[in-house]
Point group: C3
Amino acid sequence: MPPHTLPYYFDLAGVAVFAASGVLAARDRDLDLLGIMVVAAITAIGGGTLRDVLLDRHPIFWIVDPTYVVVILVSALLTVAYLRARPAPGMTLLVADAFGLGLFALSGAQLAEAAQCPPLIVVLMGTMTGVTGGVLRDVITAQIPLILRREIYATAAIAGVCAYLALQALGMPRTSAFWIGMIVVVTLRLVAIRWGLHLPVVKKA
Amino acid sequence: MPPHTLPYYFDLAGVAVFAASGVLAARDRDLDLLGIMVVAAITAIGGGTLRDVLLDRHPIFWIVDPTYVVVILVSALLTVAYLRARPAPGMTLLVADAFGLGLFALSGAQLAEAAQCPPLIVVLMGTMTGVTGGVLRDVITAQIPLILRREIYATAAIAGVCAYLALQALGMPRTSAFWIGMIVVVTLRLVAIRWGLHLPVVKKA
Amino acid sequence: MPPHTLPYYFDLAGVAVFAASGVLAARDRDLDLLGIMVVAAITAIGGGTLRDVLLDRHPIFWIVDPTYVVVILVSALLTVAYLRARPAPGMTLLVADAFGLGLFALSGAQLAEAAQCPPLIVVLMGTMTGVTGGVLRDVITAQIPLILRREIYATAAIAGVCAYLALQALGMPRTSAFWIGMIVVVTLRLVAIRWGLHLPVVKKA
């Protein structure tokens, strides 16, 4: 994990927003401050840790560089302070989650690509990296996982990674493709939340 | 992971039936098609991924070979199509789960054996490989894990792996022992489901 | 994993008490004996397995040495036998969990230290190692995770690891610091349970 590169800052941004989403999910649970920090940390590093373990990338991204944990603590403390000052708008958790989903889906895809995985695996690895932090958060705080929401969720991650791969195949440079993939994930997710959009649901007969 | 060997096809069969079981577990959850595919994929690769991570087998079985993901998608799509045409018989999820349990329990045992684990560890590794996909499926879809069912569940995996080890110790070739172990798991599970059999339950005083 | 050292016996003690806590958590679930053993085993090895996977320590501590699984089976069987003879006092699960939390938090911290992790990461790794077994136990047995309890929980692990690091920085030998850290975790946890102590809870506005 070379510091001071764009992916490094994306990982930092991803852990920051997922840490905030962990605090938001934990706030109704009567946890003390350090318990909330632990939930925030597990949410923030879950997706990237799974990505690194599956791709056999050691040391795991947060293990040798304390910057990640510092960013998590600062993000979580700011979120706690904000929540004490005023109530969070109802959608804040979902919006923070959307950005974390996008950042980790694309970073998982990028590292799977670097590990020479075939495109289908790149999509799966990106999607799993994106959804894992949120699934862990929801399981630990005993909530129905967001991945089960009727609105577009995993679908947004899949669409974003596919866009990233397709645009590169069409000749776009990697960084631009990354950004557009990211925008696809977040936009799809926010549009789906705002207007309750969803793909046709699979009905049982 | 050498392609075109028997274990390879067993892994493929295991991911196919667990993918179908993931669709069956997710169908009442109002997920869209891609969300269902993600649940199917996590269910299908969960047990084998844990096995490979614990045994330090890299690359993980599905990471370099897209065949697995293709099999998962095809199996999940066929299951979805079937469910739109007619309702699944009530036991279908349990039967698909029984075959996945057996295939992954035996494959986990076989790879633990190849890694020179002692017999007790072979049994534990086989059992964990067998039950993990189903536990992940049930946790992600917010259901009571099948492993908590009163009927013989983990017990079936343990019995099958023990049979596999015992028959080899008695001189039976590995492949035959594998098949009999597999038959033990699936038969025990199906008999237990059909007649509600269970071992004596541990009662609290 | 050098046998016959102090950390080795701590790991054995940790798996023994977590195995007992797994039995206590599973006892109301109508599981058969082998199902209970599997829940006990997953609870007992969960934290240490996560620790070894994240630190890339292979083979995983229980994979080559069957002693761990033997200890788990004996501890779980004794617990089952005890429960058949008389009801467990209401706090038994919480007390067993407190010792497991302490042992694994400190052992996780010690191994993270040995892997040259920075102090903040040592604290996080110790805490995650300590809480994972209990979280897995609670998720598998479909209970609200203890980590969500209002009383001091993750906080006890963090305090114990911080004490361990601080005392070493002040010149105390590692083994003494380990014991004091362990005492801090267990005492904090037991005091918190007994008198319902907790840090100020983060209230939403």
